[in-house]
Symmetry: C2
Subunit: 325 residues, 2 copies
């Protein structure tokens, strides 16, 4: 099953989201327009699809779901722009980052602009609960990112802390996507809860897979260099498991202990870590963890009305743990 097949149900409306996002680039300032055109218009994405699909169980109201799906995708883009600026990343989605081309200052300001534009789209729904949730989600995400920044190059991290961090920085946006879809389609509270928890668990699984792919993916598939988490000093699940297996002589440990080692040595250590992970059962173990979260995500979907959208959400969960990028 391909993502495109799953999306069929909301294909037309996802195209509308794309058009809305494209329209965001139409601003008076030619320089702002250039930056926006560089970063926007990536195609049919998972987060807005989740909002639309989550809106299919009760009163599907496109006038509300369309701006919200757009808000969710724009907010995601804003976080990526700031992440790349913070990490000095040079490539994203196979293209040079905003900070690489125009400088970090422009990236910070463009991210601010898009957070606010996303907020405007959320406000178009006119739904105060969703608007509030939107603002709270940005707080949760930045707070999770702050934790990650403070924990950089820190080897003393528990798995619980890792899970809390990815819940904040990734899963919260997935659950905003699904929960807002539910709220805007007037779902009963119980169904809102089911969809929120689906989003949350799916988001955790998504991030675990993302973290594995940073070890075993290719730059071509990922649209960004592999090993970048280690380079940033971010300890993810695969690296944690590697530390457990090789507590003494371990490239991650050496890398984190000697942050100022020459660039060439760093790359060697990262390559070693990637090979060790690739040649172990760590990848399998991570996918199992992700699988568990996907199973958990789907666990209560049975409480929702039985329709094509429910099947699509299950299919997305299956896809998340088999994705390559």
């Amino acid at each position: 099953m391909q993502l495109s097949e799953i999306y069929q149900l909301v294909e037309e409306d996802l195209t509308r989201v794309e058009s809305q996002i494209k329209a965001v680039t139409e601003v008076d300032s030619p320089r702002l327009a250039e930056l926006l055109s560089h970063i926007l218009g990536g195609g049919k994405e998972i987060r807005p699809a989740l909002t639309l699909l989550s809106g299919k169980f009760y009163h599907y109201n496109l006038d509300l779901l369309l701006p919200m799906a757009t808000a969710v995708e724009l907010m995601h883009t804003a976080t990526l722009i700031h992440d790349d600026a913070i990490d000095n990343s040079t490539v994203r989605r196979g293209r040079p980052t905003i900070n690489k081309v125009w400088g970090e200052d422009k990236a910070v300001l463009l991210g601010d602009y898009l957070f606010a534009k996303a907020g405007e789209f959320a406000a178009i729904t006119g739904n105060l609960r969703v608007i509030m949730l939107f603002s709270q989600t940005i707080q949760i995400i930045s707070s999770g990112e702050l934790d990650q920044a403070f924990d950089a190059f820190n080897l003393e991290q528990t798995r619980a802390r890792y899970l809390r961090r990815i819940s904040s920085k990734t899963a919260s946006l997935f659950s905003l996507a699904t929960e807002s879809g539910a709220i805007l389609s007037q779902a009963p509270e119980e169904s809102i809860k089911v969809l929120r928890e689906y989003g949350c668990n799916l988001g955790i699984a998504f991030q675990i897979v993302d973290d594995v792919l940073d070890f075993v993916g290719t730059e071509e598939e990922m649209g960004k260099p592999v090993g970048s988490d280690l380079a940033q000093g971010t300890l993810t699940l695969p690296a944690m498991l590697l530390l457990e297996r090789y507590p003494d002589d371990n490239p991650v440990k050496e890398l984190f202990h000697n942050r100022d080692m020459p660039e060439g040595d760093k790359k060697k250590k990262i390559k070693q870590a990637i090979e060790l992970v690739g040649n172990s059962s760590i990848v399998k173990q991570c996918y199992e963890a992700a699988s568990d979260y996907c199973a958990e995500a789907c666990h209560n979907l049975g409480l929702l009305p039985d329709n094509l959208s429910r099947q699509a959400l299950k299919d997305i969960a299956d896809l998340v743990i088999s994705r390559k990028r």
Copy 2:
């Protein structure tokens, strides 16, 4: 007349704003709490005062005005944090900046957090028009800041461009402060317009004075180093007038043409420019321009009900052009 006297009218409620802002620092994460405590709690500020005073003409509803005044001040703080990160500024309000103490990455994320927290407070008003205005204002501000960043070290700037830029980056927040106060107190459209335009003109005057003080103030008064605009390559009104007066041999020109000159030479050029401005009638000319905007700000206040708040707004306009920090 002191600011404290003018504020008397809203003294008690400004204290409530302070308490709300202080409460923002009470979060679970001790590291986030530390950053928030460092940056929040500056005292009674002009922007929330403007919101409260603008709410005094019709139905003063503290349940709505209090969160909005808080939102306005938090949004202002968020912009300062990002500005300082972008400019690598080390001192603000007499204290080390977030980026100086914790690094630029933390500053970006903390700014994001506070933008979103401000958005949450705006949402508490439950007023969709104000919520929308809030998001649009952040877009206008970041777009103005982007223009400024793109125009850095560019000598070919017109006064019209300067005014457009400060309208976006400064005056838009002042007019959000006054307009939202008007809307939330159920002012008629005509009065909303009067207060919005008051805020806009006051904001322009405020920024012109700010730009003058960057030349003729002291670090002690300003809470940050003087000459920082020139150091960032930002061409403000005093520098523009200096270029007009000395088109050939001009320290600003030399500074902007040779961005890579040694730090010591840069400082000399900045000092020269500061002295030239200080010894000319440029300061007077700038204050006259600011005065004109203040007069324009007050021009239509007569259309509002005659009360103490109207007088306070006039007094604030007088104070803006005599302020020393």
